[in-house]
């Protein structure tokens, strides 16, 4: 990847939402989500790896980039903690 187009392309703002709270993260379209995850977890004060990220109902993998998912400026990323179910 050359640095030239990266500079040309505009950065996108991601709204990361967890439990009603919202944080803005500015990322490049080709940034891997692993980096974004770590940043979001840090902002919400969680250990890394605890969140699950979903974009428009689709699960986001660590290796994905915003560009892969056609994420546009201002789109929302949802964070979820692990869901469990059993009933005691």
């Amino acid at each position: 990847m050359s640095q030239e187009p990266e500079d040309v392309k505009p950065k996108i703002n991601l709204k990361v939402v967890y439990d009603g709270e919202e944080v803005q993260i500015k990322v490049k379209p080709n940034t891997k989500f692993a980096k974004i995850f770590a940043a979001a977890e840090q902002r919400f004060g969680k250990e890394s790896g605890t969140f699950k990220f979903v974009y428009e109902g689709k699960r986001i993998g660590k290796e994905d980039t915003p560009g892969d998912l056609d994420i546009e400026d201002g789109d929302q990323i949802d964070c979820f903690l692990e869901q469990l179910g059993g009933w005691q």
């Binding site: 109902g57 986001i60 179910g85």
Partner: protein
């Protein structure tokens, strides 16, 4: 003959059976008209002779009118019979010549001339008259006499006891045979008790006796007595018959399809139809090779399997071991498999799995978004950016309740139902409420019109498989969703299938494909 001249002369012409008394009267009158004194005297002598003969005859006949009459026989002596036989020849002409006066003078009863059997040649005989065989008479007489004067046989001193004993043994034997017959009849299906059976046998015996008596010896006292004695023979015959029929091959029971049977057959048919409608029951374990794969998958570490945007790691798949709770990873992976199968079936339907509906699967994160943020704020319209929800048959939604419990929900466009399936039997009214709101808002957003809910019902299956523990609800939920994607709504699994289903899910997730053995 000559004495009876006038009478004999007249006789041949007169064949009528008119009373001889009248005839005699006319004859005597005739003789008196014509007769001189000598003639009259001769007639007188003649009459005397006739009288004598008549008397003798009368005596003879009164003695032997019927040889069996005992009173006469007792009086009679052999001499009488011989005398009467000797006197017989002259008596031939006697009746014709006898006059009414003679008859009156006689000491013997007046009916003599009429009823007296006459052995004369041409005399018309009546049925009363009997042939006259003196030898036979004598023999009969002798026999009768002997019978009456036979010395009595003296009894043996133990005769009575012996007879009683014989009777007793006979009775015992008869009872024994009767019991044997009873037992045999019981085996053949006779249902009443022994006294009733005895009554039946008695009845049969009576009928049998009656038949025999009327057939062979009607109205014969002696014979019927002998039949009475033959009781044991009758019983023996019955017993043999019963034994014979018992050994015979039995005919098949008659075919009578009455209402009960018809109803039963209908029930069987219904059950078979039900079975065909329902999915077949699940096997108890995976095939051995798949089972081995499961064991291998459980030993692996790291990321086990990937499908679409989902992936499952070892710590997630370990949750499918018995008695563990499931997390969103497993459920979403499984949901992705269900969704993928539906989409795959759409692409190549001829080779694809059968009965797969067009479904959409919302991940476990849909529900908290919907409940906590709502349609607008949660931006749920974006979740269906690339698909038309209303073109699907069923929308599948796993629902997590307070991070404790999994249930399955569905929006069934085919059957116009908002559905909720809870393995704990709760009907979850909030599910219906939220989903109705969601459908309406989605419709308003995409179709620019409120959703028409006419005909829509909130539905839960009356016989949802129920979990019997605190940890299997995730498995139940996955299976509800999978079954719903095939439209197999009367679910064919239950708690007992869960150990198998957990292992099957490990295989399915590990191989990223759903097995076809529903």
């Amino acid at each position: 003959m000559p004495q009876a001249g006038p009478s004999t002369r007249k006789r041949p012409g007169d064949d009528s059976l008119s009373p001889p008394v009248r005839k005699h009267a006319r004859l005597s009158m005739g003789s008196s008209e014509s007769g001189t004194l000598g003639d009259r005297w001769r007639t007188h002598v003649q009459t005397g002779w006739v009288f004598a003969v008549n008397t003798v005859e009368l005596v003879r006949d009164t003695i032997f009118p019927q040889p069996s009459l005992p009173t006469h026989v007792s009086r009679a002596a052999s001499t009488h019979s011989s005398m009467s036989s000797a006197a017989a020849p002259p008596s031939t002409s006697a009746p014709s010549t006898s006059s009414p006066t003679d008859a009156e003078t006689e000491t013997t009863p007046s009916q003599t001339p009429v009823l007296k059997p006459s052995p004369s040649i041409g005399w018309p005989s009546t049925s009363v008259t009997k042939s006259y065989y003196p030898q036979v008479d004598r023999e009969l007489q002798k026999k009768l006499w002997l019978k009456q004067h036979r010395p009595k046989r003296r009894k043996h001193i133990f005769e009575d006891q012996h007879k009683a004993k014989v009777e007793a043994t006979k009775a015992v034997r008869r009872e024994d045979t009767l019991k044997q017959i009873y037992v045999l009849q019981k085996e053949k299906g006779y249902s009443a008790d022994f006294p009733t059976f005895r009554g039946l046998m008695r009845k049969q015996l009576q009928i049998q006796r009656y038949m025999e008596s009327t057939r062979v010896f009607p109205r014969d006292g002696k014979r019927s007595e002998s039949v009475e004695v033959d009781d044991s023979a009758f019983l023996r015959r019955i017993l043999e018959k019963a034994r014979a029929t018992l050994n015979e091959p039995r005919p098949p029971p008659p075919h009578t399809p009455h209402m009960k049977e018809v109803r039963y057959r209908r029930q069987i048919k219904d059950i078979e139809l039900e079975k065909r409608l329902r999915a077949p029951t699940l096997p108890s374990s995976l095939p051995s090779d798949a089972d081995a794969q499961v064991d291998a998958l459980l030993k692996k570490s790291g990321v086990i399997s990937k499908y679409a945007r989902e992936q499952v790691a070892s710590q997630d798949i370990a949750r499918l071991k018995p008695a563990l709770w499931l997390n969103d990873e497993i459920i979403n992976f499984y949901g992705a498999l269900v969704l993928g199968r539906s989409e795959g079936a759409k692409e190549n339907s001829p080779n694809g799995p059968k009965n797969v509906l067009a479904v959409h699967y919302f991940s476990t994160f849909f529900w908290p978004k919907l409940v906590k943020e709502g349609y607008e704020k949660g931006r749920l319209s974006k979740w269906t950016k690339k698909l038309d929800l209303f073109s699907k048959d069923v929308i599948l939604i796993p629902v997590n309740h307070a991070n404790l419990h999994w249930t399955a929900a569905a929006i069934n466009f085919r059957q116009k139902r908002i559905e909720s399936y809870d393995s704990l039997g709760d009907d979850r009214p909030s599910v219906y409420k939220h989903l109705r709101e969601y459908v309406d808002q989605e419709h308003r957003n995409k179709k620019k019109a409120p959703f028409d809910f006419t005909g829509w019902v909130d539905y839960t299956s009356p016989d949802i498989p129920q979990q019997e523990n605190g940890y299997d609800c995730g498995v139940f939920t996955c299976q509800f969703l999978e079954s719903l994607s095939r439209g197999a709504e009367p679910f064919n699994f239950s708690q007992k299938d869960i150990p198998y289903l957990r292992r099957r899910m490990i295989w399915e997730i590990g191989n990223a494909t759903l097995r076809t053995e529903y």
